[in-house]
Symmetry: C2
């Protein structure tokens, strides 16, 4: 697909126009298999994060390849997945909006969820939701080991929450959720060792010990008691993953087909893909995407529907009307801008996959 | 609404959860009236850009207040507006993807559109689309006067395109589209003067001379022959417009209601609104939004569903479970993340407005 694909480009623009989000099914399947193999080799279950693709069809491919279940970030995403028949779901965040709007109770009534908390307020809301659902709710405690994201910072706080869970008949302690930084695994092991002793003192044990992140695949095994890993980006990969050294451009399964719509002068060009297509997530990289046909071109700035090209380093400059393929810096947020992905196999359009959980913000 | 609104917050979270996009109808109406008054005072027609709200309901409010018609950036947006009965539409960009997929011809068959071009390839595609639609297509020539966005850079190039339009029986020259920078109005006047002489030499005249941008309201009148102005952001305003001095926080009609979902330590907090809600558009500002209840707090970083708060400068720090109102840096891209806006009047939920043209990327 990275060679000449003018016939495919023609098919894409005639059937869908540009910009168009396209995934290469062979690469998707290979990426899914690779993630599963990495988890298998480390002896942990695979629980992919669906925030990247937001599609029950792709989640089912991951499960068919061996994944234990899935991870969601929003209750609404879990609803979409549950509607498609997927039942083993961790929602990896404090769910206050979903709890207080009744959405958590509604879904928990239909199937037993696993949710996460790093504070007492979340636990109180979870208890109410579980009561309303008339079903005990499994809760993991989210622990921060240096990333400064969500999660309690100390084993003492984690233990305090575990005691509340243990004392609440509507909640059940299900385990611990970590997101170690690349060099934070020793600290995570220490946190685990400390909290597990405390948990044992009140008769609790973490049946699920979850770690996360595509760049952390190479660290699997460094937390000895980890039971599962949740990674999202690896199904598609992106320019950030290439920059991080965990994927090659050849592993990037998602490309935005975009038309060159303006060439005001020798060194300027404009794509019909802007911040409402590729998003302003830079991921700390220079430029906002890799252009397969013109790797020396830089998308240096966005308007909402335009990507501004600096072509000064290109010998072979694109013409107006050319269709180019862009690998975004951060694929998860770009997928989130589209209602559908066009799936391609053997250089031909195969079918359309709805981004069914897009816009599930609660 | 900027005073205590705990009852409204409770209604929002119980009915919709968080994050939730909320608009204050009184402010929206006032902003619409102000934009119309500014155009009226300058003697130019008002043609608001609907990219900000993407709602035919809000576009109709703008028309009812006196707008001549609307501006869209995508053919798909124009389709949604046309379906709602709005018929006077300029699409302010080169439309290659929409032309080559047949979408432009389909809509042009239903109603006469006005489109824009800055190059010959676009004109050739427009001619084909107009032939397929069996209806002559009105074309404006987009001219760049220093912003380095889309648009021809010289009157000579504009004239060359005008000649092509004049020579094509399926195209009709409709005028000139400018987007002057704040200090680029003298240069725009010069460009206009140069091209209008050339146009007159072949019997053409620009019946539409369009300028753009909310920050340019104060410059209306500086291009003497301007016939209309297109501004988007002014219907809601945002932190960028406040920073630019063209709106106050009180004029910001759009707020994202968000729950504080984590408070890992004294100076850290996390909102349930991240880059998939507020977007990574910084607009060159420090931090990613103004928190009405905690103006000294900074949203310093995003995960996809989390906004990371630095609370070190706050005396009054939010607690987990608090609902806060966030005015985003760039409202157009935040609206684009939601499927609906919750409209509020007199501090009470009034109705829900679909973001009907969201995701219309082609």
């Amino acid at each position: 697909m990275d060679n000449d694909c003018s016939a495919l480009k023609q098919d894409i623009i005639e059937n869908f126009g540009t910009p168009c989000a396209v995934i290469d099914l062979e690469k998707v399947e290979r990426n899914i298999a690779t993630a599963q193999q990495r988890c298998d080799a480390a002896g942990v279950a695979n629980r992919p994060h669906i925030k990247t693709h937001k599609s029950p069809i792709l989640a089912q491919l991951q499960i068919d390849a061996g994944a234990r279940g899935i991870t969601c970030q929003k209750l609404g995403e879990a609803e979409v997945m549950a509607n498609a028949g997927i039942s083993d779901i961790i929602i990896a965040t404090n769910l206050l909006g979903a709890a207080r709007s009744g959405k958590l109770a509604s879904l928990q009534k239909r199937l037993p969820l696993k949710v996460c908390a790093d504070n007492k307020v979340s636990l109180a809301e979870y208890s109410k939701a579980a009561s309303a659902a008339e079903r005990v709710l499994d809760v993991l405690i989210e622990c921060d080991t240096g990333q400064l994201r969500a999660g309690v910072e100390t084993p003492e706080e984690a233990f305090m929450l575990a005691q509340i869970i243990k004392g609440d008949p509507m909640l059940r302690f299900a385990g611990l959720l970590f997101y170690p930084s690349l060099d934070g695994w020793p600290r995570t092991q220490q946190f685990y060792d400390d909290i597990s002793v405390k948990l044992a003192s009140i008769g609790l044990e973490a049946s699920i010990v979850s770690t996360g992140g595509t760049p952390n695949f190479t660290n699997l095994g460094k937390l000895q008691q980890a039971t599962e890993h949740r990674a999202g980006t690896c199904i598609f990969n992106d320019r950030m993953m290439v920059a991080a050294g965990v994927a090659t451009l050849e592993d990037c399964a998602y490309q935005v087909y975009s038309s060159v719509v303006s060439r005001a002068n020798e060194n300027r060009g404009i794509l019909d893909a802007g911040s409402k297509t590729l998003t302003s997530d830079s991921g700390g990289l220079n430029g906002f995407g890799h252009i397969v046909e013109h790797p020396a071109a830089t998308i240096h700035k966005f308007a909402e529907e335009h990507g501004f090209l600096d072509l000064s380093n290109c010998n072979n400059k694109p013409a107006v009307g050319d269709i180019v393929r862009v690998i975004p810096n951060h694929v998860c947020v770009s997928v989130n801008m589209f209602d559908q992905l066009v799936a391609v196999r053997d250089g031909k359009i195969s079918h359309v996959i709805p981004v069914a959980a897009r816009g599930c913000l609660v």
